[in-house]
C-alpha cells in the first residue's frame, strides 16, 4: 500500500494549529502507518517536495515569503487544506489590516528603539500591505476553521481524507472555536 504524502505548513500563525495537531496524541501512531509526513515544521526537511497529496496550511499570508511559499506549495499539492482561523479568515494577524503594515512596523521596530531605529528588510521577510486568508491568494480545497481546530477535528479531517472522503466539518468546528 502506498502511503499518503502529507505536508503541514506554518505561515503567519501562532503554531497553535500544529500544537492541536500534536494533541491527537497516541492516535498519531496509527496515522503514522498510513502517511508519509514529507514536509512540516515538525520534521527536518528544507524543501517542499513534489507531488504532495494533502497539505495542511496553518496561518495567514502576511509577508512576501508567505506569498512565495504558498504559491510554490499550491503548485505541488493535490488537496490544499486551510487549517485554522488564520488560514481561513486572516484572524489575529489580519487585525493590523485596518491600520496598515507601516503602523505595525513603526510600533514594533521604531518606537521602542533607543539607538539607530530601523525596519529590518534583509533577514526578516517584508510585510505585505494587507494580511490575507489563503484562499484569496491560491485555490483552497477544504476549510477547517477554529482557533485552533480541536485535535479531534483535525484527526477526523485527516482520517476522512485518508479514507478518500471530503470531510463535512459543519458540526465539528467554527470560526473562533
Amino acid at each position: 500500500m502506498t502511503r499518503t504524502r502529507i505536508a503541514t505548513v506554518w505561515l503567519d500563525g501562532c503554531s497553535g494549529c500544529h500544537m492541536s495537531f500534536l494533541d491527537i496524541d497516541e492516535r498519531l501512531l496509527a496515522l503514522a502507518d498510513q502517511i508519509d509526513l514529507v514536509y512540516s515544521p515538525l520534521v527536518d526537511c528544507k524543501d517542499f517536495p513534489d507531488q504532495v497529496d494533502v497539505t495542511l496550511v496553518e496561518g495567514a499570508v502576511s509577508s512576501e515569503e508567505d506569498l512565495e511559499k504558498i504559491s510554490h506549495i499550491r503548485a505541488r499539492t493535490r488537496l490544499l487544506v486551510s487549517l485554522g482561523d488564520c488560514a481561513v479568515t486572516g484572524n489575529v494577524p489580519s487585525l493590523r489590516n485596518s491600520v496598515g503594515a507601516e503602523a505595525v512596523l513603526q510600533r514594533a521596530y521604531l518606537d521602542p528603539a533607543l539607538l539607530n531605529p530601523q525596519i529590518p528588510d534583509l533577514v526578516v521577510p517584508r510585510l505585505l500591505p494587507v494580511v490575507r486568508p489563503i484562499h484569496s491568494v491560491v485555490k483552497v480545497d477544504l476549510y477547517v476553521p477554529g482557533c485552533p481546530p480541536a485535535a479531534d477535528t483535525i484527526y477526523y479531517v485527516v482520517t476522512e481524507l485518508l479514507a478518500g472522503r471530503i470531510p463535512d466539518i459543519a458540526d465539528k468546528t467554527r470560526f473562533g472555536a
Binding site: 506569498l67 490575507r132 484569496s136 491568494v137
Partner: protein, 546 residues
C-alpha cells in the same frame, strides 16, 4: 374663485400680454441661468428702458425651451423667433431687430428635428409662461380645468377619466395611475394625503426640475385635482434641496394659489379643502423611494421599509397616501382637460401619452425633450439628438442607476415600459445618456455602481455591502487585476443583490452591470483576460498583483 372670476383674471392677463407689440421672453431655467440669462434679461430691460419703448415692448422671464446646451435662449413673441447663445452685448442688436429683420447670427432654427419631432403635453406651456406669475399661467387656461372639475365632476368621474387615459406612473415603475388613485380613494380613513415626489436624483436627469421650475402651477393644479379625486385634505411637495430655484418658485406659486383661494379651505366655494406644504430632501437619493420619502416627511431617517403595506393604504402617519412623481402630476391637467379618451390615442397599446427625457451624453442637441411613447430609440438618438460629427454610437443608457445600457442592435425598439424592460433596461424617470465608442462599458457600469454604493441607505445588508463589493470588483476589472473568478463572483453578487435587497434602489443597482455584461461581455473579458481596455479609458496595471 369661480369660472367667471377665473375667466376675468385670464382675460386681463392675456390682454396685458397682447398690449405689447413684442414680448421678449428670456429663459430663466437653471440651465440658462447658469449661462447668465439673468444678466441678459437685465441688459435687455435696460436697453428697452433707455430707448423709452418699454410701453410697447416687454421683457419677461420664461421657462425652459429644452435645448439647454444652446442657452441662454431668448424668444420673441408673437414673432415666433428663438435666439440662442444670447450674450449681454447682444441686447442692443436684439432690440434693434424688433421692428426689423431678425438677428440672423443668433437665430435658432425651430424646424430642426429636435423641436419638430417632439410632442408636448407635459411641457405644453414650457418657455411661454412666466414661472413666477399665476396670471401668466391663467392666461393659458390654467386652473380652469380644476374649477370645471370642482363644479361638474364627482371624484369617481375624475378617476374614471384617468383610468380611461391609461396614464402610468412616470417615476419609473409605470404603475397605473388610475388604479393607484382608486386604491387611495377606496381606503377607509378620515384623512388622506397627496404627495408629489420631486426628489429627482438620477445622474443626468432634470425633467422634474424643469417642470417644477417652469410650470409650478400646472403641478399644483394636478395635485389639487388628485386631492379632490382621492379625498385628500393635505399634501406635500417633496423637493430635493439641490433645486433651490424650483423650491423658490413652488413656494411662490403656493402663496399665489392660496391668495386666489385655490389652496386652503373651501376651494372655489366648494367643501373641498387642500393644504399644500413643501418638504425639502436633504440630499439622499433613496428618499425618492416612496416609503423612505414618507419617513423623511415624518422627520425620521430616510430609509425604506418593506411593502406591503403600500403607502396607498398606510402612508404618512399611517394615513392613506397618494404618491406620484412630478411628471405624472403634470400630466393630470391635460388629461382631464382633453379627456381620458384623447390621451389614450397617444402612445402605444400599453404605454399612453408622452415621456419627457433628459437627453445627454454624446449628442449634438443636449436638453429636455418630450416624445410620444412608441417613438424608437433610434429616432431619439439620431434625429432628435443627433450624433456629434466623428462619433460612433455604442449604447444608450436609460433608467438611471437602476437602468441598463441598450446597444445599437436594439435601437429600433419602441420607447415604452415593456420594451425597455425586455432589453434589460428600464423606463425610469427619464434620464437618457447616449454613449459613443470612446466610452468603456465596464467604466460606465462602475460609475453607476459607485453611485448606488454611496447612495445606499445602509439598512439592508445586500444593498449596503453588495454594492460596495460589486464596486470593488468592477474597480479591480478596470485596473486589469481581476480574474475570471472575480467575474463569476460579480455575477453571483448581482443575482443576490437584485433579488434579496429591500427596496428598488438595491434591487435595481445590479442592472447596469447585468446589462453591460449582456451586451458588452467582450469588453469585460478584454480587461480580464487580455489586460487591455478596448476603448482606452481604463489605466491597466501592467504588473499583476495578487
Amino acid at each position: 374663485m369661480n369660472t367667471d372670476e377665473l375667466h376675468e383674471l385670464a382675460t386681463a392677463a392675456k390682454e396685458a400680454q397682447t398690449a405689447f407689440d413684442h414680448r421678449i421672453i428670456v429663459c430663466s431655467g437653471t440651465g440658462c441661468q447658469s449661462l447668465q440669462s439673468e444678466q441678459v434679461y437685465e441688459s435687455i430691460e435696460g436697453e428697452l428702458k433707455s430707448r423709452g419703448i418699454g410701453h410697447r415692448c416687454s421683457v419677461v422671464h420664461g421657462g425652459c425651451r429644452g435645448l439647454c446646451e444652446a442657452g441662454p435662449l431668448v424668444s420673441v413673441e408673437p414673432d415666433h423667433l428663438l435666439y440662442q447663445g444670447v450674450k449681454t452685448d447682444d441686447a442692443p442688436e436684439l432690440v434693434d431687430s424688433l421692428d426689423a429683420a431678425p438677428v440672423e447670427r443668433l437665430t435658432l432654427d425651430v424646424s430642426i428635428p429636435f423641436f419638430s419631432r417632439q410632442k408636448k403635453i407635459v411641457l405644453e406651456h414650457n418657455g411661454m409662461i412666466d414661472p413666477e406669475s399665476i396670471e401668466s399661467y391663467m392666461a393659458t387656461g390654467g386652473y380652469s380645468t380644476l374649477v370645471r372639475i370642482l363644479a361638474e365632476l364627482t371624484p369617481a368621474q375624475v378617476i374614471e377619466q384617468l383610468t380611461k387615459s391609461g396614464l402610468r406612473g412616470r417615476g419609473g415603475a409605470g404603475y397605473s395611475t388610475g388604479l393607484k388613485w382608486n386604491t387611495v380613494a377606496k381606503a377607509v380613513a378620515n384623512h388622506r394625503y397627496v404627495v408629489c415626489n420631486g426628489d429627482e436624483g438620477d445622474p443626468g436627469a432634470f425633467m422634474d426640475r424643469s417642470v417644477m421650475e417652469d410650470v409650478p402651477h400646472q403641478l399644483i393644479e394636478g395635485m389639487l385635482i388628485a386631492a379632490y379625486a382621492v379625498g385628500a385634505d393635505a399634501g406635500y411637495l417633496y423637493v430635493r434641496a439641490e433645486y433651490p430655484l424650483a423650491v423658490k418658485r413652488l413656494r411662490r406659486a403656493i402663496r399665489q394659489a392660496e391668495k386666489h383661494g385655490l389652496l386652503g379651505h373651501d376651494i372655489c366655494g366648494t367643501r373641498f379643502s387642500f393644504k399644500l406644504d413643501i418638504r425639502l430632501g436633504a440630499g439622499a437619493f433613496v428618499c425618492g423611494e416612496e416609503t423612505a420619502l414618507i419617513a423623511s416627511i415624518e422627520g425620521r431617517r430616510g430609509t425604506p421599509r418593506p411593502r406591503p403595506p403600500y403607502p396607498a393604504a398606510h402612508g404618512i402617519w399611517g394615513y392613506p397616501t397618494l404618491i406620484n412623481n412630478v411628471e405624472t402630476f403634470a400630466n393630470i391637467v391635460p388629461v382631464l382637460r382633453e379627456g381620458g379618451e384623447w390621451f389614450s390615442t397617444i402612445g402605444t397599446e400599453r404605454s399612453k401619452g408622452t415621456k419627457v427625457f433628459a437627453l445627454t451624453g454624446s449628442v449634438s442637441h443636449t436638453g429636455l425633450i418630450e416624445v410620444p411613447m412608441g417613438i424608437t430609440l433610434r429616432e431619439i438618438v439620431y434625429e432628435i439628438g443627433g450624433l456629434p460629427p466623428g462619433k460612433r454610437f455604442k449604447a444608450v443608457q436609460t433608467g438611471g442607476p437602476s437602468g441598463g445600457c441598450i446597444p445599437a442592435e436594439h435601437l429600433d425598439i419602441p420607447v415604452d415600459y415593456e420594451s425597455l424592460a425586455q432589453v434589460g433596461s428600464f423606463m425610469g424617470s427619464g434620464g437618457m445618456i447616449v454613449i459613443d465608442e470612446s466610452a468603456c462599458m465596464v467604466d460606465v457600469a462602475k460609475f453607476f455602481m459607485e453611485f448606488c454604493m454611496s447612495e445606499s441607505c445602509g439598512k439592508c445588508i445586500p444593498c449596503r455591502v453588495g454594492t460596495a463589493e460589486m464596486y470593488h470588483l468592477l474597480d479591480k476589472i478596470t485596473l486589469g487585476e481581476a480574474t475570471l473568478d472575480d467575474l463569476a463572483m460579480l455575477e453571483d453578487l448581482a443575482d443576490v443583490v437584485k433579488h434579496s435587497s429591500l427596496c428598488g434602489l438595491g434591487q435595481g443597482s445590479p442592472n447596469p452591470v447585468v446589462s453591460t455584461l449582456r451586451y458588452f461581455r467582450s469588453e469585460y473579458l478584454a480587461h480580464i483576460v487580455d489586460k487591455t481596455c478596448p476603448a482606452g479609458v481604463c489605466t491597466i496595471h501592467q504588473e499583476v498583483g495578487v
